[in-house]
């Protein structure tokens, strides 16, 4: 565009903006949680898609919002395909572990390593799916590279991290990010990752020292984890490049700690409400059974009272779904917003005329990740 030539050689960094309404997102996840309950979880594909559509389409870069073009049906089909793969794998795993057990009792545990590999493969392929559904200015992001090659790297690094009690984690993250980013593209702009393990280590080593204490002293844990996530985000964002476009982050260490405390606060409140509800329904069930309270609360009576058990089951589900809403609101949407607010883009003019390239990937990886309960970014 013409105006670009008028701009000085080093244009100021561009901030990213988020234009989404928090209330709208809240309604989205509340409604989604309710539908998940009614559909015994099948709605999760639609909910995940709606959440991404909301987050993507409200993320504004240089005046233009991104778009998520994935659809829930793709996730459902990916899940069904993943089942067709996972079921025989589970069976083969079962037979293989029988053979291994025969040699030595409990020797089947190393076979879990196979599932770890499979999970990492799924993480890579799921990222690929999400990236190919991400569109900005009419051009999609895409990815090549091999999920198995990534899984092998992830597994070898995991062994090293385990042996050094987590000290090598920054170098693992850097190596894996380099692999992922150099196989990521925006149109014909190739991505790369310039963050180094040493930089990550310099920013986060003191958290590594605090981690053992955080495991034992509860109030320390949210601080340590929140600070770690902030350091990780800042380091990750600052390393991302697409051709001449680079990202920068100024996220302070304390940026996410408040969110974690809010989540803890809500969970405590919800737990109190759940306990109060249990007391109320016990009272109700006792009056329905017509027994004196003291007799009703004898363990053998209360555990056999069907109306009370039904109350407990319903209350528990409500409790679990409410926690789901809280987690999605604070740890998904609010984290997203804070990360965007601290991110800036340099050299966006390099993306002004990028040619579209790359094909769509299937949602198989998402399906496997869903089946194995693994998650990654």
């Amino acid at each position: 565009m013409d105006q670009i030539s008028l701009v000085p050689r080093h244009p100021p960094p561009l901030p990213l903006a988020f234009s989404g309404d928090r209330k709208e997102f809240f309604h989205l996840v509340v409604r989604g949680a309710g539908l998940e309950l009614i559909t015994v979880g099948f709605y999760r594909f639609w909910l995940a898609t709606d959440i991404r559509r909301h987050l993507w389409s409200n993320t504004v870069i240089d005046g233009d919002a991104a778009e998520y073009t994935g659809r829930a049906k793709e996730l459902l089909i990916g899940f069904l395909f993943a089942l067709a793969i996972i079921v025989p794998v589970y069976l083969a795993y079962f037979v293989a572990s029988l053979q291994a057990e025969r040699i030595k009792a409990f020797a089947s545990f190393p076979l879990l390593a196979f599932f770890y590999l499979f999970g990492q493969f799924a993480i890579y392929r799921a990222r690929r799916y999400r990236l190919t559904r991400t569109v900005w200015r009419g051009v999609r992001f895409w990815m090549d590279g091999s999920g198995w090659s990534y899984a092998a790297r992830a597994a070898l690094w995991a062994v090293l991290v385990g042996l050094t009690l987590g000290l090598l984690l920054p170098w693992r993250d850097a190596a894996l990010e380099r692999y992922k980013m150099r196989h990521s593209y925006y149109g014909d702009l190739q991505g790369s990752f310039e963050g180094s393990g040493w930089e990550f280590f310099k920013r986060g080593w003191w958290l590594w020292l605090l981690a053992p204490f955080a495991l034992y002293i509860f109030p320390l844990a949210p601080f340590v984890y929140g600070a770690f996530k902030a350091v990780e985000w800042r380091w990750w964002i600052s390393g991302i490049r697409f051709g001449g476009v680079s990202l920068g982050s100024t996220m302070p260490r304390g940026a996410l700690i408040g969110l974690y405390w809010k989540v803890i606060g809500w969970i405590v409140l919800l737990a109190l409400a759940f306990v109060a509800y249990l007391a109320l329904s016990a009272g109700l069930a006792a009056s329905m059974s017509g027994m004196p309270l003291k007799q009703f609360f004898a363990p053998q009576v209360v555990s056999k009272n069907i109306p009370f058990l039904v109350f407990v089951g319903v209350g528990y589900l409500g409790f679990a779904l409410a926690i789901n809403v809280v987690l999605r609101l604070y740890l998904l949407r609010d984290v997203w917003v804070r990360v965007l607010a601290s991110t800036s883009v340099h050299g966006i003019e390099a993306a002004a005329n990028v040619s579209a390239r790359g094909d769509l990937a299937t949602a198989l990886g998402e399906g496997i990740a869903d089946g194995l309960d693994v998650a990654g970014f």
Partner: protein
């Protein structure tokens, strides 16, 4: 999700002048300022030149932030986008495009999703209640004995880790035990693949492993008062072997765990749901298997001319009255008092010879004493 045209603006050109309409052709990321012409088709013009024409019926809405109307066209490149930030133009265009919202996912589809998931739920429940038990019954005879034995060896390894594998092998006790087991085995029509042993564990229990291993624990032997009590217990375990209950339960548990896990997907806390519902259905299945093994034991004891009642008495001595303590629908075994009542009904005066002589019974009781 309806787009609201409020005063909010995200793009450049926030001045009073009409906001530019931006076109992305889907081939490159170039931002092209365009002018729209409303003819029989939507004309998209850049610098007085027509660069695209979209038929109104093919225009669909794409996701966008509020304040922006983002359009796509079915016949244009898949990622070609037209972005309109001016509320008046957006309103005019919305009025022309009658099928604008036809591809918005979820619209009217929610009922369909609910319907399909209810159907899936019903089908999974039917499978768990009828399909899997049937499959377990049909598949069990098809599993080769060799595989079952291998399975037994695998669980045998775990047994020795959990309980310590101290086999009681006092010679006289062994002879008495072998005599008792052989009598039962031959009457039951089982072959010599059955292996039995007394383990030196204080837990009062006995169990059968797949492939024909039966273990009796010292703890149970210590509580027994006569040979018929132990014979009844062993007969019950032989019943499990005869019916191949281990294999059947393995197939059944695997199938139900898988299906129920499938049903509850990833609702937070679904772990507890899966656990409860699985316990409910597998417990009922296991109770049926225990009932059948009891019937087998009663039958076998009758064939030998002995009463099954002592077996019930031994179990009652070990567990006491259970009705007060456990929820009967969650229990893996029928309540002991019910089992005792059933065996008492089947009580009959002995018509056959005692299974062990008094001397042999004493040696069996002492099988775990290593001396002599």
């Amino acid at each position: 999700m309806r787009v609201q045209f409020d005063a909010m603006n995200n793009g450049p050109g926030q001045d009073a002048s009409p906001r530019p309409i931006v076109y992305f052709d889907g081939m490159s990321s170039r931002r092209r300022a365009v002018v729209l012409g409303f003819a029989d088709q939507l004309q998209i013009n850049e610098d007085e030149q027509a660069i695209a024409a979209w038929s109104y019926a093919d225009i669909r809405r794409a996701d966008s932030p509020s304040g922006t109307l983002r359009l796509t066209c079915l016949t244009a490149p898949a990622l070609a986008r037209l972005e309109i930030r001016d509320a008046n133009v957006a309103a005019e265009l919305t009025a022309c495009c009658t099928r604008l919202d036809e591809n918005i996912p979820g619209r009217g589809g929610i009922a369909k999703i609910i319907g399909w998931s209810l159907a899936a739920t019903v089908s999974i429940v039917v499978m768990v209640l009828f399909g899997v038990p049937l499959a377990a019954d049909r598949l069990t005879p098809m599993v080769p004995q060799a595989l079952e034995r291998r399975l037994g060896e695998a669980s045998d390894g775990q047994v020795s880790v959990v309980f310590g594998k101290q086999v009681c092998n006092n010679a006289a006790g062994q002879r008495a035990f072998a005599k008792l087991v052989n009598t039962l085995r031959e009457t039951a029509g089982l072959d010599t693949a059955v292996q039995t042993a007394v383990l030196s564990s204080p837990i009062p229990n006995a169990f059968a492993l797949p492939g024909g291993k039966v273990y009796l624990f010292r703890g149970l032997l210590a509580k027994a008062e006569n040979a018929d009590e132990i014979a009844g217990i062993l007969a019950h375990e032989l019943g499990h072997l005869k019916h191949r209950d281990n294999m059947r339960e393995l197939i059944y548990n695997g199938g139900t765990s898988f299906l129920i896990g499938l049903l509850f997907g990833d609702i937070t806390g679904s772990g507890a749901l899966i656990f409860t519902s699985r316990s409910l259905v597998t417990a009922s299945y296991s109770r049926d298997a225990e009932q059948n093994a009891d019937s087998f034991a009663i039958d076998l004891m009758h064939k030998l001319g002995r009463s099954p009642k002592p077996m019930g008495e031994l179990m009652f001595r070990v567990t006491g009255k259970e009705g007060d303590r456990s929820i009967s629908i969650l229990a893996s075994h029928p309540l002991t008092e019910d089992r005792l009542a059933r065996m008492s009904n089947e009580d009959q005066p002995p018509s056959g010879p005692p299974l062990l002589t008094a001397e042999e019974w004493t040696s069996l009781k002492a099988i775990c004493n290593s001396k002599s």
